[in-house]
Amino acid sequence: MDLEVTDVTVRFGGNTVLSDVGLDAVSGGITSLIGPNGAGKTTLFNVITGVLKPTSGRVMLGTNDMTSMPVHKRVRLGLGRTFQRLELFGTLTVEENLRVAASAIPRERRTSEVQRVIQQLRLQQVSDVRADTLSTGTGRLVELARALVGEPSLLLLDEPASGQNDSETRVFSEVLVDLADRGMTILLVEHDMNLVMAISHRIHVLDFGQLIASGSPAEIRSDVRVQAAYLGQESLEVGSGRRRSDVSTGAHP
């Protein structure tokens, strides 16, 4: 199912954190959300997962309006997510972690579903290991596995590459590509540009709470606004006028 976010605005007090942000993520593709610190990525992520209610706007999954649903109902609709900081059930084993997730699906499918996910992510070796003794890289795979129990249609990943080494990131990205090929909708919030550029089909860029660009990795790489947002270099064409238009030439006052 496709995810569609329309005109989402979030205000905290007088502070506008997101203003009229709209984006979509289609099934069978990996969509990434990037932007500098403080751009509002986490806020948007929280709006989609249901941790935060937007001031206005709408979040749709397929034909279902999720805007004001509690977290566990969104999950039943097919939303799965991972966390920037691991949120595993630390004192349980990997298999038990997955069994807990499976208790939200019909009883007769539970055991087979847990086994399916363990096999899909090749976690057989660690299935009896306590989750809080895993390395972060493996922990991220387990968290992904937990989110995959019950075959969600939409997968939201919050900075999965942080804390992973290069080979772990490679394994992780292969899994993501494979999942997308099977028709899952994946939305990725990530700092690691290599990962984002390598596996995304489409990238949305947030800056100052506004969507400043959307496009393919190649388009984003060459987008002047994105470069400006990331490097602080402004080009004269930028439309919003919120930034002062001076090109950094290294001129000193």
């Binding site: 900081r85 349980l92 208790s103």
Partner: protein, 738 residues
């Protein structure tokens, strides 16, 4: 109108004391994150010391007051902070609460130890008998003094918080703990200051309240706990709202007392008199309903220090067999009086067992195990008056329902507020429900005279509940010995049921909820439902335990289910390990076995005091002593069946000799003690002897995970490296370069 003014003034006097208490409590919680359940106990210390000085030693009141407020209060604060609270870093909220609850139990036991609780203690107020006429009311000068002191406390506290550097630092720490460090302010010092203020206000409140009530440690602590409701109104953050809460509390109590409490002529008046005592409880419940939902927050960076291992079937079976066999073996040896006292043991153990799923697994705290137990006992007594065996089942089901209903409104709140709600529930039962006069329950079809159901309900049957011991399959269990063995079997069944629960999906879900609430919500599970389920299960087990406990006593009084005795159970369970099923046996043994009191009758308070002392030290060892101290001792024995069998055989021989009156009971007791001491030592010897001749490394040593995982992703620890070095014959140090 005159009446109204009078009640209002009385209410404001009460409110003043509540305001002093609650503002100190709020301040401590907001700055340190530790909710001090022992706040009322600190107040009791103040009241007793004041009584000692003025009444016994004849000191002038101002001098005694200066001693209490100027010295005792601050010293208590510093001691509590540096001796206990500072070590709680990195423990979870449940452990923190357990520690202050242990402190509460310990202080009350200590006070009863020092000052004979049987003795009536009266403190005369200063300016006794003097009064001033205000608005047509004669107002005792002492009451004016109380209000003046409260006002002064308010002004001083306001000044400290807004005009002194220490106060601004305290407010800063509430705002942002890490930023205060960057400002070069030590959070430890600030915490100490706030504990000093907290304990001083508590002691002051104790001194103020002393002349207004007869001194008893328990009831003083409870009286002060009423003020918790005011802190909840202030959401444990805001002092002005806390003071508003105190005003609501004081006035509503006074109006209830004045308009309802003294008038039996009102319809149902006799039932409402007791309600007056629990007005603060009602205020607390209402305030809880206005609290916002617990926010889902990502976990703290620290790894929790608490563990939760899964009980094995083997371990649980051992526990059950040991419980039943030992009970059956020891029962014939005991003197009738001791045996009778011990019949409570397994009832208490089952009640203690009820805390394991809630505290140890789901990570929620109910401080009222005895309240659920009382519900079970009442149901069993009223619905199965002839001791029918299904009375136990009904007790469990009924108590579970009560537990579910009680936790339902609070399930969305944080563990602290839920625990407060359970405390309020226990106090309401103690002070009101159990003391209700008999009433007639009549259900008839409306507008007709047809009666469907008529029952005269006398809840506690005028103070002692008649309970019959059951008959099972023709066995009469009314004798102490038979009943004790029956109770141990019920305990065994409960242990097995809980083992099954822990190993089931629901058990996993409870642990998962404790480990990561936000993760729990994200896999599509409803936190509230699981919380309510955990409460219902816990209450159900406690209900069964309560029915057993009541049947053991045969005529239990409401006092047998007293709130503080329940806290002792809680503290023992936490000390021994809240996630270990075996901790319940300890609770039963400590509280029901008469050994200590028999040997040292004058030291009835030793057991609770020692228990509380152990509880207070929980910060050092949050997983409880069974897992950290006892289990490692015995692991060597468990691995050597020959040794264990031999030891047990010797013990059995001694037992048979005792049974045959060849040797005295004391010899057998000595043999048991020797068994407990010697076996672990032999166990360690045997393990070492086995390991050394082979010349190999320690046998348990192995890799922390399979080699494939280690190669793929898991970090190699130092132990893994040295293991690999040994295995492959590499000289340590070579080939370990990065």
């Amino acid at each position: 109108m005159r009446e109204f003014v009078g009640f209002t003034i009385t209410g404001l006097v009460t409110a003043s004391i509540y305001a002093v208490v609650a503002s100190g409590l709020t301040l401590t919680y907001a700055t340190t994150g530790i909710f001090n359940w022992a706040h009322g106990a600190l107040a009791a210390i103040g009241a007793f010391v004041y009584w000692q000085c003025t009444t016994l030693w004849g000191w002038p009141a101002p001098l005694a007051m200066i001693l209490c407020v100027g010295i005792i209060g601050p010293v208590l604060g510093v001691t509590v902070e540096s001796g206990i609270m500072r070590r709680l870093d990195g423990t979870n909220e449940i452990t923190r609460m357990a520690v202050t609850l242990a402190l509460l139990v310990g202080i009350i036991a200590g006070i009863n130890w020092i000052w004979d609780p049987q003795m009536t203690k009266v403190v005369l107020p200063v300016f006794n008998g003097k009064a001033i006429e205000i608005l047509g009311q004669r107002l005792p000068v002492y009451d004016l003094l109380v209000m003046a002191v409260a006002l002064l406390v308010g002004i001083v506290m306001r000044w400290v918080l807004y005009r002194s550097r220490a106060g601004v630092q305290m407010r800063g720490i509430v705002d942002d703990r890490s930023l205060i460090i960057l400002n070069g302010v030590s959070p430890v010092r600030t915490a100490q200051t706030s504990w000093v203020i907290g304990s001083t206000t508590a002691v002051l409140a104790g001194v103020l309240i002393a002349p207004k009530t007869s001194l008893s440690a328990g009831s003083l602590a409870l009286l002060i706990m009423n003020a918790f409701a005011a802190s909840v109104v202030g959401r444990l953050r805001s002092l002005p709202l806390t003071i508003l809460g105190a005003a609501i509390l004081g006035l509503s109590t006074a109006y209830a007392q004045g308009y309802v409490g003294s008038r039996t002529d009102l319809p149902g008046g006799q039932y409402l008199i007791g309600l007056v005592n629990v007005v603060p409880v009602v205020v607390l419940f209402i305030a809880l309903q206005f609290l916002p939902q617990e926010r889902l927050r990502a976990a703290k960076s620290q790894q929790a220090r608490e563990l939760s291992n899964r009980p094995t079937w083997n371990g649980s079976l051992w526990l059950v067999v040991a419980a039943v066999v030992v009970t059956a073996a020891i029962a014939p040896l005991l003197a009738p009086g001791d045996l009778h006292n011990m019949t409570k043991l397994w009832g208490i153990a089952v009640i203690a067992l009820s805390l394991v799923p809630l505290l140890g697994w789901a990570g929620r705290l109910a401080v009222c195990p005895f309240a659920f137990a009382a519900v079970g006992a009442l149901i069993s007594a009223h619905l199965a008056p002839d001791g029918q065996i299904w009375g136990l089942v009904l007790a469990g089901v009924g108590a579970a329902a009560v537990g579910a209903i009680l936790s339902f409104p609070g399930a969305r709140l944080s563990p602290l507020y839920l625990a407060l709600a359970t405390a309020a529930f226990a106090v309401a039962l103690d002070n009101w429900i159990f003391r209700l006069p008999p009433f007639h329950l009549v259900i008839r079809i409306p507008f007709t005279e047809v009666t469907l159901y008529r029952h005269q309900l006398d809840i506690f049957q005028g103070g002692s509940l008649a309970m019959r011991r059951p008959k099972v399959f023709g066995f009469d269990l009314s004798g102490d010995q038979a009943f004790l063995i029956f109770a141990s079997i019920v305990f065994g069944a409960s242990v097995l049921a809980l083992t099954a629960l822990r190993r089931s999906d629901l058990g996993l879900r409870m642990i998962a909820l404790k480990d990561s609430p936000i993760g729990y919500a994200t896999v599509g599970l409803n936190r509230q439902v699981t919380t309510v389920a955990a409460f219902a299960i816990s209450a159900g087990v406690a209900g069964v335990g309560g029915a057993l406990y009541g049947a053991a006593m045969q005529r239990p009084s409401p006092d047998a289910f007293n709130f503080f005795s329940g806290l002792s159970i809680l503290v023992i369970v936490v000390v021994l390990g809240a996630s270990t099923l075996g901790s319940s046996v300890g609770a039963g043994a400590f509280l029901a076995a008469p050994v200590l009191v028999n040997v040292f009758p004058s030291l009835a308070q030793v057991t609770p005091t020692l228990t509380a002392a152990a509880g207070v030290s929980l910060g050092n060892n949050p997983n409880g002593s069974i897992r950290s101290d006892i289990a490692p001792q015995w692991s060597g024995v468990g691995q050597r069946p020959l040794l264990l069998g031999g030891g047990l055989a010797v013990l059995a021989g001694v037992y048979l000799a005792t049974l045959g009156d060849l040797i005295s009971n004391w010899f057998f007791a000595g043999a048991c003690v020797a068994f407990v001491i010697v076996m672990p030592i032999l166990g360690r010897r045997a393990t070492r002897a086995l390991a050394s001749p082979a010349g190999s490394a320690v046998p348990e040593r192995r890799l922390s995970a399979s080699p494939e995982q280690l190669a793929q992703s898991l970090p190699l620890g130092a132990d893994d490296l040295s293991y690999l070095d040994d295995t492959f014959g590499i000289t340590p140090g070579v080939g370990r370069g990065s």
